[in-house]
Symmetry: C2
Subunit: 224 residues, 2 copies
DNA sequence: GCTCGTATGATTGTCAACAATCCGCGGCGC
DNA sequence: GCGCCGCGGATTGTTGACAATCATACGAGC
């Protein structure tokens, strides 16, 4: 018999739920970088007490999304140019490793799932936000297909930071066609199992993204 | 004037201190995998209240060192064979990336620091625990020299998990000479700036470590 | 006019008590 | 004998209030 989707009854702790909610908000740019997150206000607005909220905060601090200043409060980390480069460098490392594992493993299944993600991207090409979501999902799938829980966790954290970078330039969205072309190349490299090409394409993809974000030279989030 | 070491006055939050203490204990094998960490007992023994302790716990859960079961408690994660392989695969990815950045950056300074770490390892060759510490420090330095805060954080987390794996087989320590040879090769690859060789040596190093841990076939920590 | 000291306000850090939930064991019915 | 039900113990989850700390603004002194 098929018990798919039956087992995971585990009710998540409220702290985890709150953390997810906050992560989503930070990712989406609801809390711009540098914003102070007052505990009492957030607690009341989320309908939880300060205890679970603080646990959720610490969780996000551990992920590097929040910056904790003692007796001052918690602030949304703002990413400067160096951070943007760092995020994408780390992503390149993680996703390359995931790609290698993926190619060595069940490549066919991965191609199917990635194709679906790519199709979703193409369908969302018109809406910048939806496109960013689909882009996010594609890379999530890429790493998920590797079957490595640790790479997965790292990638998810980095993807959230990526969205934070992107939220800064949601006014002038990147050209959808370029983005799609790069992802098609990525999928193609996976399909053919060409490790060297995957590495090249991936690094080019990351480099392009960095350029797109840092292109408006100095404006937006470039502080130090 | 020189203000080196003057600025960082920042007093860490108690939760962070507790987290460090617990991380150290878990790493050292004070709490064997699977151990339940009772909140009240730990809180009293650490001299803090349950509030900060819980925050520290959540921090460690976020790092993947603890497993939280709702209304049951927190347990030290025990790593099975798949986890061991995963840890080292992720480490290979992260440390390779760090090595690349390092070679592209200030290689000379890195070589100096890594040489010191290697010397420390050689000095500690007699004592298995000290050797493991020095090994840990070497890889920490390797990633630190890359200058990437995100790779750094990932690596540190993975290194703690590595120590958890190692704690299981502290009865039969690995041959020190092999370990030293592998690290000398690593340092040499960095010194010459040979990226391909660094990758090869690094992956061999990780593969060897996995073999050493999983060699006693099934005993120790291999559960599911 | 500038600087130092002080008062104030807000925020976080910490604590102890309450409530909800879950496991294990004994008894009952079948 | 076997399975189900309910109870006791323990643990976590959550809450609200208290205390410590820091930034800011104001006024006195030089």
């Amino acid at each position: 018999m098929d018990l798919t989707g039956l087992e995971p009854v585990e009710r998540r702790s409220t702290a985890a739920i709150v953390a997810d909610r906050l992560r989503e908000a930070i990712m989406r740019g609801t809390f711009p970088p540098g914003t102070q997150l007052g505990e009492v206000e957030l607690a009341t607005r989320l309908g939880v007490s300060r205890g679970p909220l603080r646990e959720a905060m610490q969780w996000l601090v551990a992920e590097g999304l929040l910056r904790s200043v003692r007796n001052r409060g918690l602030f949304v980390r703002d990413l400067d140019a160096a951070d943007v480069r760092d995020v994408y460098a780390a992503r390149a490392a993680v996703e390359r490793a995931a790609g290698l594992l993926l190619i060595a493993g069940d490549r066919a299944a991965a191609v199917v799932r990635l194709s679906a993600s790519l199709a979703a991207m193409e369908a969302a090409a018109g809406d910048p936000v939806a496109l960013a979501d689909a882009d996010h999902a594609f890379h999530h799938e890429l790493v998920a297909a590797s079957g490595s829980p640790r790479l997965q966790r790292m990638a998810d954290t980095l993807l959230v930071e990526t969205r934070m970078c992107l939220a800064a330039l949601q006014d002038n969205p990147p050209p959808a066609e370029d983005l799609l072309a790069e992802h098609r190349a990525l999928l193609d490299a996976v399909r053919t199992g060409d490790v060297a090409r995957l590495t090249t394409v991936l690094e080019a993809h990351m480099a392009d993204a960095v350029d797109r974000i840092l292109a408006p030279a100095g404006e937006s989030a470039v502080s130090a």
